[in-house]
């Protein structure tokens, strides 16, 4: 880092503080990049949540819209139950730690997903099963550094570079993640493979205060090699810090119905 740059980074937060601006930024400056990313995660997640989501999947061969209910508790548990279309209604996915279980109402069976299928698609969407398991483990699996900070399109942002830790079992070789400084809202994340080619982009939008928190209500995942395909999800409703415990994320609950 050049001497000039170093001085700027020291001076800038002080100047901003003197202007009375954003104590959040000042605080963030003292945090490591990993801590910031972790805080973004916590903001988005809450301790527990329950929401209703519409997922639109567009592929070359078919398009469909799924309605589902999603509940989560911490980073460990999530339960997703499909409400419509009728053919898949009742199908449910339970994430408990590193494991994924599916409930299939047609045959009335629960199936544990073998680890070899973690990288494959969830319900035909562009999300992988791994996304369900690993999405909130960024800080644990990646070394995080700031690749850029400053204005982008009139908004002050951070762009983080996430590189897998030496022994992390992840499939991405790099993630570039842009977060708005003012409110810690994520704008997009770009996922790169081992040849450092872009594989997919996740874009967040429609930031609104719901359940007492500012969150992006829409999210779109775009595979880089198939520009005509995408999966979009949209929260129709979302509550935070609802009354849920680990017992609500059992195999029995997976079969019986949404907590």
């Amino acid at each position: 880092m050049s001497p000039t740059r170093r001085r700027t980074t020291r001076v800038l937060p002080i100047a901003l503080a003197l202007l009375g601006g954003a104590p959040q930024i000042l605080r963030a400056q003292q945090e490591t990049p990993a801590e910031i990313v972790d805080r973004v995660d916590r903001l988005l997640r809450g301790e527990s949540s329950r929401g209703r989501v519409t997922m639109e999947i567009v592929t070359e061969h078919w398009s469909r819209t799924l309605e589902m209910q999603i509940s989560s508790l911490g980073t460990e548990y999530a339960l997703i139950r499909i409400l419509s279309p009728r053919k898949d209604a009742g199908t449910a996915t339970l994430k408990a730690g590193e494991e994924i279980w599916n409930y299939l109402p047609r045959v009335d069976r629960t199936i544990k997903l073998p680890s070899s299928l973690m990288g494959s698609s969830w319900m035909g969407s562009h999300f992988t099963n791994d996304d369900l398991v690993k999405e909130h483990r960024l800080v644990e699996d990646y070394d995080i550094s700031i690749a850029y900070e400053g204005p982008r399109g009139g908004t002050e942002v951070w762009e983080f570079d996430l590189v897998p830790k030496p022994r992390a079992a992840v499939i991405w070789s790099r993630i570039r993640y842009r977060v708005r400084r003012q409110d810690l809202m994520p704008e997009w994340a770009r996922f790169y493979d081992e040849r450092d080619e872009l594989v997919r982009t996740i874009t967040w939008s429609d930031y609104r205060t719901t359940g007492g928190r500012l969150v992006p209500l829409a999210m779109r995942i775009q595979p880089a090699d198939k520009p005509d395909e995408h999966t979009s999800i949209r929260y129709e409703s979302l509550e935070f810090d609802v009354n849920l415990g680990p017992e609500d994320f059992s195999l029995r609950r997976l079969r019986e119905g949404t907590p």
């Binding site: 078919w62 469909r64 898949d88 045959v107 199936i111 997903l113 073998p114 070899s116 299928l117 035909g124």
Partner: protein, 421 residues
């Protein structure tokens, strides 16, 4: 009595019998060299035939038809005839019209899960028409227990390793889950109808066969939609020619169907065959170079012993080229007798070996080469080309080895030699 100069070949032929013991040793050596080369080549051809026969016969067949865009992605949507499917019966009939094609079997593929109790494994689901598949894929004959799935039934035929991982046996109920072509998650209950053991661990762990109609229902494909037709061609090396014929025949009626021979979809086997063939040439070279020295030694001895005789002939007016020719003819005669003995020794042995390949399972088990199983038998195939090449090499060896002794025999100084100097 009129002295008619005997033709040189007759003199050469008689000279073979001058020192019978030495000639017999030379003949024996050359005959054995011929036998060794032909048998080794036969063995190597046998191993290639074993590899290719089993490698293509177990599942893939020697010819395959797919939609033009099916490979390499193997997308479930890329069925022959596109979204509308095709007239499978007519396609099979067209393919079976080719004289090389002995049987054709339609297939549907899907990736999915098989689950029994608490155990779940990822699997490649193969939808088959059991009656047709029996004539194409040898894996259908590797059943350990139970039987092939029956058309119209929700039955599954799984490998031994998968059965172990699932802790499931014949008659047990399993759940099969597979992403369907319409984006939904196909799932249904199946009964294990049988368990197979192909000898290839990977296949036994990964493959699950079910009736083609059951898989089409599961992954929401119309009955006319298939991913592959696999065909059996008895002699794998006839497949590329059949491919060319079928390509022309399919073009008008099934424009998006692409036919491929195993040489295209299993090119590593072609490479192996080429590697083995080059090794055969090295063997021929080594064996006959060794033989050259053996024969040369014999001929040098034979001509050295006859120096006085050559000197006398030269003194009587025989030209040096006549001497040279008599020695070369002697070598040719030697070669001819060697070849005849070699053939007499080799052919019965080869035929016997070809018919009753010795079982070597006491020494080593089966192994896989380029994905093809090689059984522990010493299989021998006839190498017609190499039989001729080895025969020519044997003759060549005899003549080349005799060149130097022959030239030297023609240059014997008559006066000095006759004086004993």
């Amino acid at each position: 009595m009129t002295v008619v100069p005997a033709p040189w070949w007759r003199i050469g032929w008689r000279n073979v019998g001058r020192n019978r013991r030495r000639s017999l040793f030379t003949i024996g050596g050359l005959a054995l060299a011929y036998c060794a080369v032909v048998l080794m080549t036969g063995l190597s051809r046998g191993m290639i035939a074993e590899m290719i026969g089993n490698g293509t016969g177990i599942l893939s067949g020697q010819l395959q038809v797919h939609a033009v865009d099916y490979l390499p992605e193997r997308s479930v949507h890329e069925t022959v005839g596109g979204q509308d499917g095709t007239d499978v019966g007519a396609l099979l009939a067209t393919l079976e019209e080719d004289p090389a094609v002995e049987a054709a079997a339609p297939r549907v593929y899907g990736g999915g899960l098989v689950s029994a109790g608490d155990n779940t494994v990822a699997t490649e689901l193969i939808g088959i028409e059991p009656a047709r598949e029996r004539r194409v894929a040898a894996i259908t004959r590797t059943g350990l227990e139970g039987r092939l799935p029956r058309s119209g039934e929700n039955e599954l035929w799984i490998g031994r390793e998968m059965a172990r991982q699932l802790a499931a046996g014949v008659g047990d109920e399993v759940v099969v889950v597979a992403p369907a072509a319409d984006g939904s998650l196909g799932n249904d209950l199946f009964t294990v109808s049988g368990i197979f053991s192909s000898g290839l661990a990977e296949l036994d762990a990964r493959l699950a066969f079910l009736p083609i109609d059951a898989l089409q229902r599961l992954i929401v494909l119309e009955p006319g939609r298939i991913h592959e037709v696999a065909m059996r061609v008895a002699d794998p090396w006839r497949a590329p020619a059949a491919e060319a014929r079928l390509a022309g025949r399919l073009e008008s009626r099934f424009p998006d169907a692409r036919v491929r021979a195993w040489t295209e979809f299993q090119p590593e086997m072609v490479d192996y065959a080429a590697l083995f063939e080059s090794v055969e040439w090295v063997i021929v070279l080594v064996v006959f170079v060794m033989a050259v020295f053996g024969v040369a030694n014999t001929m040098l001895m034979a001509t050295f012993e006859r120096r006085r005789e050559f000197a006398l002939l030269l003194a009587l007016g025989v030209t040096p080229s006549g001497i040279l020719r008599s020695v070369l003819w002697e070598a040719v005669a030697l070669g001819g007798v060697s070849l005849a003995s070699g053939a007499l020794l080799t052919f019965p042995l080869l035929a016997w070996w070809h018919r009753a390949p010795p079982d070597m399972s006491w020494l080593y088990g089966g192994f896989t080469m380029a994905g093809g199983l090689v059984r522990p038998v010493l299989r021998v195939e006839y190498p017609p080309g190499m039989m001729v090449v080895a025969a020519l090499a044997l003759f060549g060896t005899a003549v080349i080895a005799a060149l130097v002794p022959a030239v030297r025999a023609g240059r014997v100084p008559p006066a000095d030699t006759l004086q004993g100097r």
